[in-house]
Symmetry: C5
Subunit: 97 residues, 5 copies
Amino acid sequence: MKIALVVGSAVATIKDDKLHGRKLLLVRKTDDSGNPSGSTRVAVDTVGAGKGDVVITVEGSAARRTFDTLDAPVDLAIVGIVDSLEVEGTVTFRKGP
Amino acid sequence: MKIALVVGSAVATIKDDKLHGRKLLLVRKTDDSGNPSGSTRVAVDTVGAGKGDVVITVEGSAARRTFDTLDAPVDLAIVGIVDSLEVEGTVTFRKGP
Amino acid sequence: MKIALVVGSAVATIKDDKLHGRKLLLVRKTDDSGNPSGSTRVAVDTVGAGKGDVVITVEGSAARRTFDTLDAPVDLAIVGIVDSLEVEGTVTFRKGP
Amino acid sequence: MKIALVVGSAVATIKDDKLHGRKLLLVRKTDDSGNPSGSTRVAVDTVGAGKGDVVITVEGSAARRTFDTLDAPVDLAIVGIVDSLEVEGTVTFRKGP
Amino acid sequence: MKIALVVGSAVATIKDDKLHGRKLLLVRKTDDSGNPSGSTRVAVDTVGAGKGDVVITVEGSAARRTFDTLDAPVDLAIVGIVDSLEVEGTVTFRKGP
């Protein structure tokens, strides 16, 4: 799984039936401190994530293994909200209050 | 999922049976403003997208989870037409009239 | 799917049973004019493609969704022969006679 | 599969039900001497790996083919702890005591 | 599929049950002459390959479509030993005696 920052959202009226009612968030992969890098992707939120959250995303067929995305044409899903990351004994990211 | 711009189309008379009748569009990945970058890929359209549309594409096995692509040898499908994208509170892309 | 040029072939006497009788072609990804770039891959041909053909390839599990590759250890298959490509209203590739 | 070094861990209280009770480790891909390079990813541990271990990771749907990850939204799993690596007749990595 | 050179082997005593008894080889992707480039990966051998062999590897779910890897947490398998490669009418690689 990859660590990503939720940076925005996408609106698409015309879309596959199985995507209706799904929240489409824009995410960017981050380093282990939650700093974004790389390009913007569209992820289906399955855990109530919002803008500014550092999240755990899954790609590929794994993105369809959540209650909300089962069998939908989805290849990127948010499956966790990161509280903290620790690297080599140092806390590199902690979710704000 | 990735944001992409529809830039053209491909014609292939000889192709897998399950691809017959499918619209093959050429797409290029875009940034969050709809500006294309990267190489041209072939995607099966499942939502009536056309040239110039900024769309949402899914890759891998997810591309076979639409009504039109079920069980077909397809690894890239267009599953939504983007109306607008918003990043950090700013609208970065809005579909023209 | 990706556009690719068939540049050669591979011979492997010792191989998985399910690959026996399959034509293994060497392909290179191309741009939208059929000019190759990137590294050489091995693809299973399923449509009678030959050297010099610009083809449509599928990767991943999609490569096993053809009559010839069902359930075989294959992650790249040729599923179409390109007749023409059109980008922004211009024909960028047309198959020779 | 890829060789990776376990560099830390992630805590996420809010996450998909099927991830509860799973140890989420931070890993970085290494070269054949166990030296890390590339970005930090989140992997589910299935073999009791700990920080400092050089491990074998699997990606994609394979990450769900372990007892601990079956059908969970997981795309990266640790499936082995490396004792030693040998390249061209030379031991390039050996696990410390 | 990709062409790769077998450069070594990995030993892992602690590993997923379904990997026990499997030969774990280190491979590096090659160009069409069998010259390695890119990083070292761990592949499960399914055809009796050995060090120095130029082989055909499959990634992703395809790596589980062999007799030896069925349903195992494996994302890279060796499924053929290359005898020769031919590009643009020239033999670019031929297996030694």
